[in-house]
């Protein structure tokens, strides 16, 4: 499977597994930036589905003063990250997780740390709320 080959090439320091024939998971430690922090990340992908990306450790990521929820996540408790805009087909199954989802997760971690420091999300993107109002 092409996804597995690419992950094993670029992110061999993590664990890549296939279960039930078509369920791919990659779990490993990603760093936000050279002086950034380490996070345990899990990507879960079923063939023809969409990759789901979680921050496994630390649980309960810190929040900036005055905020009660993480931003750019599908689920605050599960810490599942929103890394791309589905309607724009920024990800489709011809692309590899190794060249899209994981770099985007690293970028998410970087902007998450900046958000912690500044209270401002500098990563850009689209909020579902504003989408609803259109």
């Amino acid at each position: 499977m092409q996804q597995m080959v690419a992950l094993k090439r670029d992110y061999s320091f993590g664990t890549t597994k296939i279960t039930q024939g078509n369920h791919l998971t990659w779990e490993g430690t990603l760093k936000s930036s050279p002086i950034g922090t380490d996070y345990l990340i899990k990507v879960s992908y079923k063939k023809n589905g969409v990759p789901q990306t979680f921050v496994v450790e630390p649980k309960n990521l810190k929040l900036p003063l005055g905020k009660t929820k993480l931003i750019h996540v599908y689920n605050h408790q599960k810490q599942r990250l929103c890394l791309y805009y589905p309607k724009a087909k920024e990800w489709n199954n011809t692309k590899t997780i190794a060249s899209t989802i994981i770099p985007w997760a690293i970028e998410w971690l970087y902007h998450y740390e900046t958000w912690l420091i500044t209270g401002e999300w500098t990563g850009g993107g689209i909020h579902m709320e504003s989408e609803d109002k259109k």
């Binding site: 670029d10 992110y11 320091f13 990603l30 760093k31 936000s32 930036s33 050279p34 002086i35 950034g36 922090t37 929820k69 993480l70 931003i71 750019h72 996540v73 599908y74 605050h76 929103c82 890394l83 791309y84 805009y85 589905p86 724009a88 920024e90 990800w91 692309k95 190794a98 060249s99 899209t100 994981i102 770099p103 985007w104 690293i106 970028e107 998410w108 971690l109 970087y110 902007h111 740390e113 900046t114 912690l116 420091i117 500044t118 209270g119 401002e120 999300w121 500098t122 990563g123 850009g124 993107g125 689209i126 909020h127 579902m128 709320e129």
Partner: protein, 424 residues
Amino acid sequence: MMTKEQKNELEDILDVLGENLSITEAQHEAAVRSYKAVGNWLTNEDSKLTNYNPVISPQGSFIIGTTIQTIDSDGDMDLDIVCELNGKRPEWTQKDVKQIVGEQLIKHKKYESILDDEGRRCWTLKYRENGLPSERYHMDILPAINTHGYSIILEKAYSNLNDQNIEGLVLSITDNERPEYGYSLEPSEWFQSNPFGYAKWFMNIADNIMGRRIKMFSLNESVNPTPKYQKDRLPLQRVVQLLKRHRDIMFKDYNEVDKKEKPISCVITTLAAKSYSGEDNIMDALVSIINKMEDHIEERYDNKLKKYVKWVPNPVNEKENFTDRWAVQGSKKEMFFYDWIKQLKIDFGIFQSSFNRIDLSESLKKSFGNEPVTKTFSDVGNRMRFLTESGNNYVDHKQGLMGVIATGLSSTSKIQPHNFFGND
């Protein structure tokens, strides 16, 4: 031990922080407009000075690129300028020169209204444009006579300050605490000051990086009568900005009397330059300067006081001691200076241990204040977003987000443009 990539990331943060502490382009333009207007007024045909072609040019931190923003919301930024006369009437004393400059200022309605009490060597104009904190500054105007009879700035140094002998840049200035203030007619007997020689001395050290001359900040440009705004700074200039800001933050809660005894900028700038050994990045320069500054404080025997006193010589005038006030009875200046050095060593101990971005931001906020540090991390974050949007951002698989890098490394991948999405 930090990796090269970690050093690069830290350097970027410290450089942007320095930029955020600096004078802005708008402030620069406003300052240049103001001192040009003062210059035009002093050279006005009705002025007694007009025969001596006064030239107004900036000096001090403004020309060596180490000016910083004030931290008090009602504080003023300093703008030091020289009013250089090409000669004088033979019968003029220091007092006459000082008074004639003052009288000419008073003849102007606006200048009269913003003129402060007479200073020891300067006239001070307090600008309060539009009431904006960023447009409050005071302009110290230093009347001076060039000893050689021709303008240092317009005719000589402006062509190329680096080709001039430091001795040739000496100016005679007025000083109302000196005994000859009211009678000496001979400028060579007056206090000899050399602001342009000092600037040349400083820049000569700052642009010598690991033995190579780096033309990043031009002294000739900054003494140009209408200098362009220069954004980039050399490591030594950045370190001086950071040190001055650290001092301002450390002493901000001291009482008003004690606050006046905090280390002065010219001592900090001189000791930093003497301690700098050409490091090519801000962090290494900062750490080595902090550790070496106190070694450059000399002790010399003072014949009047009959004891040894601390001595930081003016590098362009060995006989002038920048720390002469430390020996004044009851002064806390010396104690405060060493307190400050001690605090610097504590606060920048972080670079000698392992730290992450969050620790760094907290430590920087403590040393330099919340506002510029928060803005710095936002600026750096926004720049990362632009890089991704324009298809020029990279990740290293193990080290994380890199920004622009030399391509072709197998451990890196280009980030494909995308949008973070989300509920909230």
